[in-house]
């Protein structure tokens, strides 16, 4: 599904070069649930942005669903993000003065074709994240947990190949965190590929596989042995 090879990313500011990613290779299979762990500032978001085609690596190759992303122009990358990737961010990034429903509909605006059943689909997706009675609320009227669930619904509306979540629970209390993680687990059980970036081991332990990022490299990649326990709560 996702294959990267020797990805490097160096930020250059005022002629000072900071290498953040120093050659990362990994591959994620369809249907996998992967967590990328690491302390703050290790380059998790940088890696995530590269995986999501929001940013370009300084070096290295990225293959999504068998397509080498390197040759694609900006418009093609936009179309690819629209169709194949669902983003979930720590800060939700909802349009504030916009209803939950319209927020979920947003990716369809930029879809190749606007589906005739768009609203029905958006409502169904909102129901699936437990927001059936919040559809007409403005984003600014929702709690953090509710906002993040709207963001997940927005990520799901175009039926993406992969969900990329960057610290999705970073701004949430423990109850909302659990709600979000349960949704991810359920989505994964339904066959959805999920990549979660986090500094929080408790969050990472919901994934099937945990990659540890340090000093710009993956130092550890383990199948999650505690997975059975984590579904207790």
């Amino acid at each position: 599904m996702i294959k990267i090879k020797n990805i490097k990313k160096t930020y250059t500011k005022a002629s000072v070069s900071t290498p953040v990613l120093r050659g990362i290779s990994l591959s994620i299979q369809r249907g996998e649930y992967v967590a990328i762990m690491g302390t703050s500032g290790t380059g998790k978001s940088t890696l995530m942005n590269i995986l999501g085609c929001l940013d370009k690596p300084t070096n290295g190759q990225l293959e999504l669903d068998g397509v080498d992303v390197h040759g694609l122009d900006d418009d093609a990358l936009s179309a690819l993000r629209n169709k194949k990737i669902g983003f979930v961010f720590q800060q939700f990034f909802l349009l504030e003065r916009t209803t939950a429903l319209d927020n979920v509909l947003l990716p369809l605006i930029y879809a190749e074709k606007y589906p005739v059943d768009a609203v029905k689909r958006a409502k169904k997706t909102l129901v699936s994240v437990g927001l059936e009675d919040r559809m007409e609320y403005l984003a600014s009227e929702l709690s953090g947990g509710e906002q993040q669930r709207v963001a997940i619904a927005r990520a799901l509306i175009n039926d993406p190949d992969v969900i990329l979540a960057d610290e999705p629970t970073g701004n949430l209390d423990s109850k909302s965190t659990n709600e979000v993680l349960e949704i991810f687990s359920r989505l994964n059980q339904e066959g959805r590929t999920i990549v979660v970036v986090t500094h929080d081991r408790a969050v990472a332990e919901h994934a099937q596989r945990i990659l540890e990022l340090k000093d710009g490299q993956i130092i550890n990649s383990v199948a999650n042995s505690k997975l059975k326990n984590s579904s207790d709560h």
Binding site: D75, F93, R97, R154
Partner: protein, 406 residues
């Protein structure tokens, strides 16, 4: 729903969510477009007024008045200077080519006229038959002054419509006798209705009588209050003016280098005069329109730039979920165009209102014209594009990762 329709809806939705910003930008454009509209309406009004004057007087009319009042815009020659005489008319007819007709005119205003127990003060014109054609001022009823009337200094007159109303009301004036300064005159006709002159004078408040009668029976005015001339060929008006000037100067024995003791007025002078009245207002409005449209444009750029910064996250998330650079550009351009057009419509309404007020307050003649609407739409679209493109491009070219940094 096509992509551009979706993006347009999105653009409108975003504007609806920020009405204050939209309103401020709109107001800026509205002020600029309103002054532009007023400028055009006032120009149009001035043009129409000038053309009315020229059409009323005819493009072939040349007026000579005593004194040097050419640039004062006074409706009639100053009586303090006495210079023109009937011999001047004869000399012009004899020595100047391209003359169709020429006529001497004497007139006095504020003369008391009675009929029965009715009384009015009006202007008395002493004229010859040619005057009627030269000034296009014939009878609407009855007969005009004839050569016999001139020869016999007949006590006959034609009355203007205002005089008719004042002295006769609804009764028939022709054949009746009126007393001008207690001299009885027979009314032999009514003059055509002419309305108000460019100088604001009621042109129907007058009585015309034979110039000979004027002199023998009423006033011992030897000098003329004006000479009216029509030329054959209006394209050589300028040469004719110089020829007439030369003839009169010679007759008046004016030495080289001395100023004329008379003044001439051509249709072009009337045009200049009429424009002069509106010109300063038009210049002022043009200046205001230019400056305020520029200010509106700069305002759009600034407010849009601020908006682009404030909406960084919005731009970032749109890009992340699949908006192309062009989609973002379209969205922001559309905002500018909508706001600008709404401001333009508001400004056009305000401008039309303003110009109606200007003309009803008699500050300036102004005419509501579709040209103004067209100019408004063109100028506000232009403003939207010229001043919106920079912020819109800035929005479109933001890197998604930067735009998503909290």
């Amino acid at each position: 729903m096509t992509r551009i329709v979706r993006i347009t809806r999105e653009s409108v939705r975003m504007m609806a969510g920020n009405r204050l910003r939209v309103f401020i930008m709109m107001l800026g454009v509205a002020v600029g477009v309103a002054s532009l509209t007023m400028m055009i309406c006032v120009s149009k009004g001035a043009y129409k007024e000038v053309m009315d004057i020229v059409n009323r007087q005819g493009p072939a009319l040349l007026q000579v008045r005593p004194g040097t009042d050419r640039h004062t815009g006074l409706p009639s020659g100053s009586r303090a200077v006495v210079s023109l005489a009937e011999e001047d008319v004869n000399a012009i007819l004899q020595h100047v080519g391209n003359i169709h007709a020429a006529a001497p005119v004497k007139d006095r205003k504020g003369i008391e006229v009675k009929h029965g127990d009715k009384f009015t003060l009006t202007r008395i014109f002493g004229i010859i038959p040619e005057w009627s054609e030269i000034r296009d001022f014939g009878p609407s009823k009855g007969e005009f002054i004839s050569e016999e009337d001139i020869s016999f200094a007949a006590r006959v007159c034609l009355i203007g419509q205002t005089v008719k109303k004042n002295l006769f009301g609804d009764t028939e004036p022709i054949g009746q006798t009126i007393r001008i300064k207690d001299v009885p005159f027979t009314v032999k006709g009514e003059l055509k209705q002419k309305g108000v002159s460019s100088a604001g004078r009621d042109r129907d408040d007058r009585i015309v009588i034979p110039i000979t009668t004027y002199f023998k029976r009423l006033f011992k005015d030897i000098h003329l209050s004006q000479i009216v001339i029509t030329v054959e060929d209006t394209s050589s008006m300028d040469k004719t003016v110089e020829d007439v000037r030369a003839v009169i100067r010679e007759r008046h024995k004016i030495a080289v280098g001395e100023p004329d003791d008379f003044a001439m007025r051509t249709p072009q002078d009337l045009i200049d005069l009429a424009y002069a009245a509106s010109r300063s207002l038009i210049n002022l409005l043009t200046g205001i329109a230019g400056i305020s449209l520029l200010v509106a444009g700069i305002m759009i750029t600034n407010i849009m730039l601020a908006s682009v910064s404030a909406r960084r996250n919005e731009i970032g998330i749109r890009r992340a979920i699949g908006a192309r650079k062009n989609d973002i550009l379209s969205q922001f351009m559309m905002e500018c165009i909508f706001i600008s057009l709404m401001g333009g419509i508001l400004g056009t309404i305000l401008g039309f209102g303003g110009s109606i007020i200007l003309s009803s307050l008699k500050v300036a003649a102004s005419k509501v014209t579709p040209t103004a609407l067209l100019a408004s739409i063109v100028s506000c679209s232009l403003i939207a594009v010229v001043f919106g493109i920079f912020p819109a491009k800035k929005a479109a070219n933001q890197s998604p990762t930067n735009a998503l940094r909290a």
